[in-house]
Symmetry: C2
Amino acid sequence: MAKTGSRVTIKDLASMCDVSTATVSRVLNHIQGGYSGETEARILKAAEELGYAPNLMARSLVTKKTNLVAVLVPDIHYYFFQEFFAGLEAYLNKFSYRLLLCNTQEDPRQEEQFIRSLCNGLVDGIIVSTLNSREENELLIELNEEHFPVITLERYGEELRDLCSVQVGNFDAGRMAVNYLYSKGHRKIAFIRGKRDARNADIRYEGYLAGLEACGLQPDESIVRYGDYTFEAGRQAMSELLENGGFTAVIGANDLITLGACKAIMKTGRRIPADISVVGIDKTILTDTHEPTIVSIDFCAHQVGITVGECIMSMINGESLGKRIFRQRSVLFEDGKSVREV
Amino acid sequence: MAKTGSRVTIKDLASMCDVSTATVSRVLNHIQGGYSGETEARILKAAEELGYAPNLMARSLVTKKTNLVAVLVPDIHYYFFQEFFAGLEAYLNKFSYRLLLCNTQEDPRQEEQFIRSLCNGLVDGIIVSTLNSREENELLIELNEEHFPVITLERYGEELRDLCSVQVGNFDAGRMAVNYLYSKGHRKIAFIRGKRDARNADIRYEGYLAGLEACGLQPDESIVRYGDYTFEAGRQAMSELLENGGFTAVIGANDLITLGACKAIMKTGRRIPADISVVGIDKTILTDTHEPTIVSIDFCAHQVGITVGECIMSMINGESLGKRIFRQRSVLFEDGKSVREV
DNA sequence: CTGAAAGCGCTTACAG
DNA sequence: CTGAAAGCGCTTACAG
C-alpha cells in the first residue's frame, strides 16, 4: 500500500538501492538512457514500496517550474466564471497543472496584492480577468515585459496592446439580441445596461446601438437604463421602464439583470413573451430554468476557458504570443438550442 | 517603482548592503532583536528599491510550509460550493493562505489523483468535500494518521470517525421544510429526493420522514420521487407526481430540483402557492429570483466556509482537533428573510 | 550507465 | 547585533 506524506526522500531511496541520488532522480524522471533496466526496476520497486513521492517544492526550486497557474476573477458567483474555470481547469489538468483561484472582489488593491504574492516563484503564469470596474494595468504590463506569462481576460485598456488578451463577443451579443428581436417583429427595443464602470458593459451597449442602426431603427434613450449586472438593479430598471412604456421588447446586459426584468414584468401581470419579449446576454442556467424559458446569448465560457488554457500553456512553454487577441464568438440560445446567424 | 519577477535574491540584497544573507533574512522576517535599526532601514530601503520579493518555493523548502491549501469539490456549479469557497477563501487570505480549487467531477479516481499530487509538500492541508456518489476514504484516513491536516465536508462514512468533519444541517432541513408546510396547513406533502448515491440526500429524506412523524402525518411513498439534484430530474419527477396528485405541497431536496418542480407545476397552469406550495432545500439565488419567490432552507454555506477555514488553520498550526464534528445549523428563508424556529 | 559535486534561494541554530 | 555554515530535497552538468 503506497503511503503519502513526504517523509521518504530521494536520499532514502538512494541508500536503500545503493545508488546515488542522481541515478534515482534520473529513473524517476524517465531520463532516457540514464540507467540500466536492472537499476530502474530496483529503484521503481523501492519507490513503490516506500510510497515515495517527490517533494514538489524542492523540485520547483531547481526546475523553476511549479506547475501552478493562478486565475484572478472579480467574483466566482458569476456563472460565466464557473464555466470558464471548469474549461480552464480541465485543460490545464491534462498537463499536470493545478489552478489557484483568487477572488479579487472587484478591488484593484486586492488584485495587486494577489499578483505580487503569486508571481515570485509560486506560479508559472497568471490569468487576470476583468475587475468589472476601474482597472490598473501597470503591474501586468511590467510582468509581461519581464516575459512572465500573463493573460488578460475581458480587459480592454489600450495600454494592454502588447499583452495576450482573450475576449468574449460582447459587441456581437448586443447586435444579435437586436437582430433576433427585430426578426420577431419588434421595432421598439429597450436595453438595460450593465455596470457603469465595466468596459464590457459599454461594448454590449455599443453592439445594441449598432444592431438598431443595422435594422434601421432609431436609438431612444428613454428606453435605456443601467442595471449593474445584478438581479435587483435589473428589476428596478425594468420597473422604471414599465412606468413609461414605449417598447415591446427588452434586452438585459446579463442574465441576472434579465431575470430581474422578468420578475418586474410578471409582477405587473404582463406575460412573456405575449406582452413583452425578453432576451438575455451571457447565458446562464437561470434563463433555461425560468418559466417561461428566456432567450439568451451564450459567450461560450467553457470554450473561453480552454482557449485561455492553450494560451497560458504556450507562454509557459516559451512561445511568445503577445499582442494577440483571441475573441470567442457568441451564440444565441432559444429553448436550449443554439440558433445560427441572427 | 517596485519590480516583480524573482530575479533579485536575498544574496543581491546582502552584497549590496554589505551584510550576510542571514541578517537580510532576519530583517525581512522581522525577527525581533535580530538587527539594529540602522541595518534594518538600509536593508528595507534596498529591498524596496530593487523590488525584492522572496522566492516562496525556497522558503517553503526550509520552513515546510507553503501557505497553500487545496479544496476538492465535486462540481463548482453547485451554488453551495461557490458560497462555501468565498467564505473559506476570505478567511484563509487573512493568514496569507491561498486556495487551490480542484474539481473532482464526482469521480473517486480523480479525487485520489488530486490528493496524491497535492499532499507531497505542495499544500499544507486539504479539504475534501463529498463526491455526491460512492466515496473512497482510505487515503484520507492514512493522511490523517500521518497527522497531515485534512478536513472532510459532508462526508459520512463511519470509517471517518477519527477525522475532523464539517457537516451541514441536512436532517434539520428536511424536518424544517415539513414543519413549515404543516404550519401553513398542509397535510399531504410530497418530497423529491436528491441523488441516489449521495448520503446527504438520504439524510434530508430522513429529516423529512422525521418531520412527518413529529407532525403526526403518515409517510406515503406514492408522493416521493428521486430527483438527482438536477433541474431536469426535478421537472421530470414533478410531472410524474402531478399525474397522480394526492398532495398539496412539495419539497425539493435542492434548489435545482425545486426549480424543475416549479417549472412542471406552472406548465400545467397551476399556481404557486395557491394550488401547490413549494419549499426548496440548499437555498440559492435561484429561488430568490424566481417568480413567485420560493421558500428555501439555507445551509449557510458562507459560514461553513469560515468554519472549515478555522478548522484547517488550527490543524496546520499543530492543534489536533480530530474526531470532532462541526455541524452548521440550517435557516429557513422566506421572501429574503430568515424565519426562526419552524 | 553511474556518481561526486554544485546549486536552486531561502532559514536557522550556533558561535561570537 | 552579526556572520559562517549547514541544510531543506531535489536536478543537472560534468567527468568517468
